[in-house]
Point group: C2
Chain length 246, copies 2
Amino acid sequence: MVGATRGFSRYASPPSPGAPGAVATMGGAPSAGPTLVEVIRSLSGSSGETIERGKTIFFPGDPAERVYLLRRGAVRLSRVYESGEEITVALLRENSLFGVLSLLTGQRSDRFYHAVAFTRVEMVTAPATSVRRAIEQDASVGLLLLQGLSSRILQTETMIETLTHRDMSSRLVSFLLVLCRDFGVAGQEGITIDLRLSHQAIAEAIGSTRVTITRLLGDLRNDGLVQIDRKKITVFDPVALAKRFS
Amino acid sequence: MVGATRGFSRYASPPSPGAPGAVATMGGAPSAGPTLVEVIRSLSGSSGETIERGKTIFFPGDPAERVYLLRRGAVRLSRVYESGEEITVALLRENSLFGVLSLLTGQRSDRFYHAVAFTRVEMVTAPATSVRRAIEQDASVGLLLLQGLSSRILQTETMIETLTHRDMSSRLVSFLLVLCRDFGVAGQEGITIDLRLSHQAIAEAIGSTRVTITRLLGDLRNDGLVQIDRKKITVFDPVALAKRFS
DNA sequence: CCAGGATCAGCAGCCAGCCCGACACGCCCT
DNA sequence: AGGGCGTGTCGGGCTGGCTGCTGATCCTGG
């Protein structure tokens, strides 16, 4: 059980929301420059927007012309099918960039994701064109964006790792660990995932069904690995949970 | 069947390898500046490296200090488990950036993926620190990187879409379409995926088993949707294939 | 150039995990 | 108080994973 505590730390500590430069400040010089939030805020003119839980931020088909930076809360990106089915492509945590499609080319393009506020959300937004101009004028802005996108890529790839697990039990465990990393707050009993997650929402994120999630979560609870209180999941010991892979 | 031909075009045309500015040139001004390849090449000193099929580019645990730009061929990023199992997190196509972890912070960090040449590979690499300096000196470099990473994110997220499909048949179909987009070359009979794919490799990428892939690919072939000749898969009509979702 | 080994493809049978459909209960919000 | 949403449960049925084997193909080294 060597390294248990070290391993543990991997799953806690979301970036403290208000901290300046929370998106990994550049190594070496502490970069006295403005943070990404400040940059985008200055480009937008406004000091930010608040969106209520469940409201849509953009629909598929909307023109993609703004960049978003999530300040507080969680945003769900999902793909919608004709069948009405909706699968979750990403659950974004604080300080995540999204709407990057608009950065890609100068051409007008359309959103193909549905972005909805998964909790009450605070965010700042700016037109992609302004962002580009800002980069040209101040290279450090480019660096900040680069770091934001890099961390998005790593996040997304761990999600792929989760989804390639064959059996649903492993998938669920892996997903819970991801959530601990991204939304976990450490408490006395363990790490609590700071989201109101319905079984249905979990199912849509990992490609399963509500019933299966209910059963598997029940198993985990019976085995004393997690606790669920009013839709909030607490993982007692991530390291023990991680041993649950089949 | 309106839009069939338009839909078709979504699946062809890999970025022509030698073309300058193949990573989506900025809209508007044709940006007379250097391309990303040229930038990285100049930072590395060398004109590029060639890696033989099957050789490792970096191992998990290696220090992450360089950035890679794939010029030709395909690279597989995978996660390795103690059990010996290996799951594919991404199949990178030409002009993809990887090793982005090294961009993230100034801290020394370690790779956690295994990167291996899936085909014979040509690539250019540069130390992350040099890349950062280059961005500070020339903001257009930042823009180029940004576009590279944005497209990487979109690629990765379509992979997630693939993996959330419940039944293996749908997953496989979806994966084949992704491969057509990333590695397809249009021919007379349809689109050929320019990779030597073993059933095992496909299984590792979409979280299935070799046997199942064999069976499902056999079904697709019997139904006249694909053709397989010495490990190269040809999709006759992507649009027809896309109707195969269950 | 050929021989041998290694990797890959294909087939069958067995069994379990999980999807589906349905239903009842409890909690929250209005 | 009521409606809607979320949770818990049960069986039936089938997809797809696992084992074991055979033949084909590719690659390599003598």
